[in-house]
Symmetry: C2
Subunit: 259 residues, 2 copies
DNA sequence: GTCCACTGCG
DNA sequence: CGCAGTGGAC
């Protein structure tokens, strides 16, 4: 038995229900971490998710952000936000769930807007603070997934030379990201070294999917022992080509785990 | 062989494509007169209409109004607007098409807003001017259809006593309508005398369809000889109950005609 | 290009 | 309630 985990920035859960209803029942996913649900908790489509056979844990807000974890069985424990008495608590950008002895951190890291914008400073603080939370669970089994809004290397974005000042690629951010994730394994790269694989294709780039013009900013990062149990990790580009797609597409990983 | 004509105020053709794609292929319609397409001619969904097996003639504008005629075969002739050198030409409210010796006038009569609003005067002028155009084709076969924005009698609206000052029911307008349509036969009433049948159900009235709270403001009016060839006329309430419906629902008529 | 929110309309 | 437009975000 393998345990399959996925991450998918849906860019509005309610707008993406048709895509999810087409994809999820065939994807064989045990736990799906969803970002940018853009829905308040009282409006979360619980019935629709249950109709697909999934339990939902969610932490949302109006218009922006919002995270959820859809899972075949309910998590044993879940924590929304940083929950460390510091402000802001980032409730709608972070949701940690536990299945047995595995902690999964589902995160939507701020994009940052521009390198001279306050949001970029917040992005760096968010990454540091979140990495601390993850590190606190080591050496246990930890999986940190989500839209991290960082392309870690030049291989992770099309035309990197144009992107030197981009808030998802600037050297300072990549250095910070490398430092803060150094204890973890980038699962996609464990199985697909050197390949131009992307999880985000801008709506505004004509035929971005077919031309493979995109960004690898969604990630699945595992603690070393857990990474050793990982049997495969891949990006499923299919849903990006369907009607009314998200601009992101799902990433998945299989683990030799009984939970 | 019968020749089936329909009229349907779609309240945005692009928004209503899913409804139309569900309804039209099973409706057996030869000619469908559509109102409130709300689409400019360059944005008209020609391919989608052709995929349903219909030819399209259209006269639209941005945001408001817009008429189209969808037909299994292209009309022999079509005229957009009043085309009588008077202003305004009402391009996007009127489209006349000819099939053989039958002229069909597809019209979207102004609603009028309020009895003290200039639009109400325009509505009366529009009705008069249009009836002149129709009369000019008599004694030939003429069919005047569309959203005429007139409930001709108290039977044609729910709670008529509350509607005495309504721009679609005020006595002055009903008198004008009766006068201007006196040479024509109201096909629905030819087959359904005395019945509370409506073609428009306000979105804002909760469960309007189930409670049958509505207006009969869409009409099919035929010249006497043509009315004699009419075998049936009915309102199809089904599409009003589907997902994302128009606030109007189609009306249909069958004729013993070979065109 | 596709989301969101908001306003104006019937 | 569900169209349309506008302006902001990414």
């Amino acid at each position: 038995m393998t345990f399959r985990v996925g991450t998918f920035n849906v860019n509005s859960l309610r707008s993406r229900l048709p895509v999810l209803e087409r994809w999820l029942p065939t994807a064989g996913v045990d736990v799906l971490c969803v970002q940018e649900t853009k829905v308040t908790d009282d409006q979360f489509p619980v019935a629709e998710v249950e109709a697909m056979g999934y339990h939902a844990v969610f932490a949302g807000q109006k218009s922006y952000n919002g995270v959820a974890v859809l899972s075949r069985r309910a998590p044993d424990e879940s924590v929304s936000g940083f929950n460390d008495s510091q402000e802001p608590n980032a409730d709608s950008r972070l949701l940690a769930v536990r299945f047995g002895d595995l902690w999964i951190f589902n995160s939507y890291v701020p994009q940052g807007k521009a390198i001279d914008h306050p949001d970029y400073q917040y992005k760096k603080e968010f990454l540091s603070r979140l990495s601390g939370l993850v590190a606190a669970r080591l050496p246990g089994n930890v999986l940190w997934v989500g839209d991290l809004n960082v392309a870690p290397t030049p291989l992770d974005v099309t035309n990197p030379t144009n992107k030197k000042d981009h808030v998802c690629f600037i050297q300072e951010l990549r250095d910070l990201y490398a430092l803060k994730t150094s204890a973890l394994v980038d699962l996609l790269r464990r199985f697909h070294d050197g390949e131009e694989l992307y999880s985000f294709f801008d709506y505004r780039v004509k035929n971005a999917l077919e031309r493979n013009i995109g960004w690898r900013i969604d990630h699945m990062l595992a603690s070393p022992a857990l990474a050793g149990l990982c049997r495969n990790c891949w990006i499923d580009k299919e849903p990006r080509g369907w009607e009314k797609p998200s601009d992101h597409t799902p990433m998945l990983a299989d683990f030799d785990l009984e939970l």
